[in-house]
């Protein structure tokens, strides 16, 4: 038979397991801080991932466009009338001739009507009435030297064939794009800093209120000859565990969110969206986020405790 008094005898019994010197794990507000750190880690992870994706994108674009230019033989004459498609074809062929014999040109490729239509389709729509719109001649060219001087020389040569022929170096477009992605990256970095400050403030506030709640116990440890380090370790350990829990939660949710975004953008095949596949190094950096968050929380707790203890005699 079970002893009915067994439970009663347990009342008032401390757990045999050694307790912290301060009952920090039982104080209220811990759950809230864990949640906050979870959220902050999640946001930091998204901001970081976005910044990684942006830098990957600009890298790919700018390296892909370097030394590449596009020669346009417009269908329109200077007086506003339109060349016949055959004229455009022959002008483009002559331009190709000139380009492929020039020493600065590595390779040149005359785009077919099909390719040109593919290029403009995203902007003009699927059912483009063929033949109605005069298509220009386009030649994509790779140079071994894309300085302005070379481009100008080539352009002058081509203008002998077609007065309005011009060379598009993508430079203006690219510099706009780089400025835009740069601004986005700055915003992401700023967001990360704000997240960091918020976390530090919240942890410091939490530690302060916990120290106020346990003031009598802290003072007792101090009077028994506990060094500031000893007392601060109590709070550091608590902050470390708390931050780690929160950060792991945050990174878990963030991982799921990133995978979902990656899946959606892959599914939609949106080529204009940045690529969300991250490299191994970047994934490792994201995974190290909880360690960083825990470190920040621990150091913050330490600084806060030492500052409060300095007030004691």
């Amino acid at each position: 038979m079970r002893n009915p008094f067994k439970k009663d005898r347990m009342i008032g019994k401390a757990r045999q397991k050694r307790q912290y010197d301060l009952p920090l794990n039982k104080s209220s507000g811990t759950g809230f801080l864990i949640l906050l750190i979870c959220l902050m880690t999640f946001l930091a992870m998204l901001a970081l991932a976005a910044s990684f994706a942006l830098s990957a994108m600009t890298e790919r674009w700018s390296s892909g466009l370097e030394n590449k230019v596009t020669v346009e033989i417009p269908a329109e004459k200077p007086d506003g009338t339109i060349y016949a498609p055959e004229n455009i074809k022959s002008q483009t062929a002559r331009a190709y001739e000139v380009l492929s014999t020039h020493p600065s040109v590595v390779s040149a490729h005359v785009m077919t009507d099909e390719e040109i239509r593919d290029l403009v389709r995203p902007w003009l729509g699927e059912d483009l009435p063929l033949g109605k719109v005069p298509l220009p001649g386009l030649i994509s060219v790779e140079l071994n030297d894309s300085t302005l001087k070379t481009v100008k020389i080539l352009e002058t040569k081509l203008q002998d064939i077609n007065e309005k022929a011009r060379i598009d170096t993508h430079e203006e477009w690219l510099s706009h794009l780089l400025r835009f992605t740069g601004a986005l990256q700055f915003a992401a970095a700023l967001l990360t800093v704000i997240i960091g400050i918020t976390t530090v403030t919240a942890v410091a506030g939490g530690v302060r209120s916990r120290m106020a709640v346990h003031n009598a116990e802290v003072e007792l440890l101090h009077l028994m000859g506990a060094s500031d380090n000893y007392i601060s370790r109590q709070f550091q350990r608590h902050s470390l565990i708390m931050a780690f829990q929160g950060a792991l939660g945050g990174i878990g949710i963030g991982g799921i969110a990133l995978m979902t975004i990656g899946w959606i953008s892959g599914e939609m095949g949106v080529s204009l969206l940045p690529d969300f596949t991250l490299g191994a190094v970047q994934i490792a950096m994201l995974a190290a986020l909880p360690v960083l968050v825990a470190l920040i929380a621990t150091l913050t707790a330490r600084q806060t405790v030492l500052k409060v203890l300095a007030q004691m005699p």
């Binding site: 007792l220 000859g225 005699p313």
Partner: protein, 232 residues
């Protein structure tokens, strides 16, 4: 070893609770501290356990002028002092065992050493079967014994006890006084604040009497009697 010179203490902008206190405790001595309630016994002890700074005067502890020490230098001094607080100040979330073990853990002793010493001492003060009980479920006298055990577990050089026998019946009270006497014989300097005149008479150590902010020293008649006995 411990010397107070022209020490004064006031709380905030209040009147001086202690004014111009002068005395010295020799190493290995045993003193009682008495005086009416509110005379400043607890305040005087708090100066000795380095819980606050005096508003004026010079305090020398273990040969060091405490006014000239940094916070860090005060830590090892505090570790040489055991204190029984008037209100015990036990940690409520910890068992009696862990409360008594705390000063040893602070001093970085091994768990094995802690286990042996704490068990032995708790048995000795009659709390052998209350080791893993929380203070909140103990009687006042039991809590007081935990507080005393915690103060002596490190074998301090100086023991300060504030009304340590207030809640105890005579038998256990004398038993604990004997513990203090034993510690004293092993070299610990002892100062006990108490109202209990019977106790003072029985043990007859030198009295420090606080009244009206001042302190007077009164050699015990007991001590004189012993001296006289020796002479004749």
């Amino acid at each position: 070893m411990i010397r107070f010179e022209h020490v004064g203490l006031r709380y905030g902008i209040g009147p001086e609770v202690l004014s111009d206190i002068n005395f010295a405790l020799e190493p290995g001595s045993f003193h009682f501290l008495t005086g009416p309630s509110g005379a400043g016994k607890t305040s005087l002890l708090s100066l000795m356990y380095l819980g606050r700074h005096p508003t004026r005067g010079l305090i020398t502890m273990f040969g060091q002028n405490t006014g000239g020490l940094t916070r860090k230098q005060l830590v090892p001094l505090r570790q040489r002092i055991g204190v029984v607080f008037q209100d015990f100040r036990l940690l409520g979330h910890m068992s009696a065992f862990d409360n008594v073990a705390l000063p040893l853990r602070i001093q970085g002793k091994s768990e094995k050493e802690i286990g042996n010493n704490v068990h032995e001492l708790l048995e000795w003060v009659g709390l052998g079967d209350h080791m893993h009980v929380l203070p909140s479920t103990m009687s006042g006298g039991q809590q007081q014994r935990v507080a005393i055990a915690r103060a002596v577990i490190t074998r301090p050089r100086l023991l300060l006890a504030d009304e340590p026998t207030g809640n105890l019946d005579d038998e256990i009270g004398y038993r604990l006084m004997n513990l203090f006497e034993q510690l004293n014989r092993m070299g610990t300097t002892i100062l006990i604040a108490t109202h209990d005149h019977a106790l003072i008479e029985k043990f007859g150590h030198t009295k420090l009497i606080l009244d009206g902010g001042g302190l007077t020293v009164e050699q015990s008649t007991h001590w004189l009697a012993k001296k006289i006995e020796g002479v004749f």
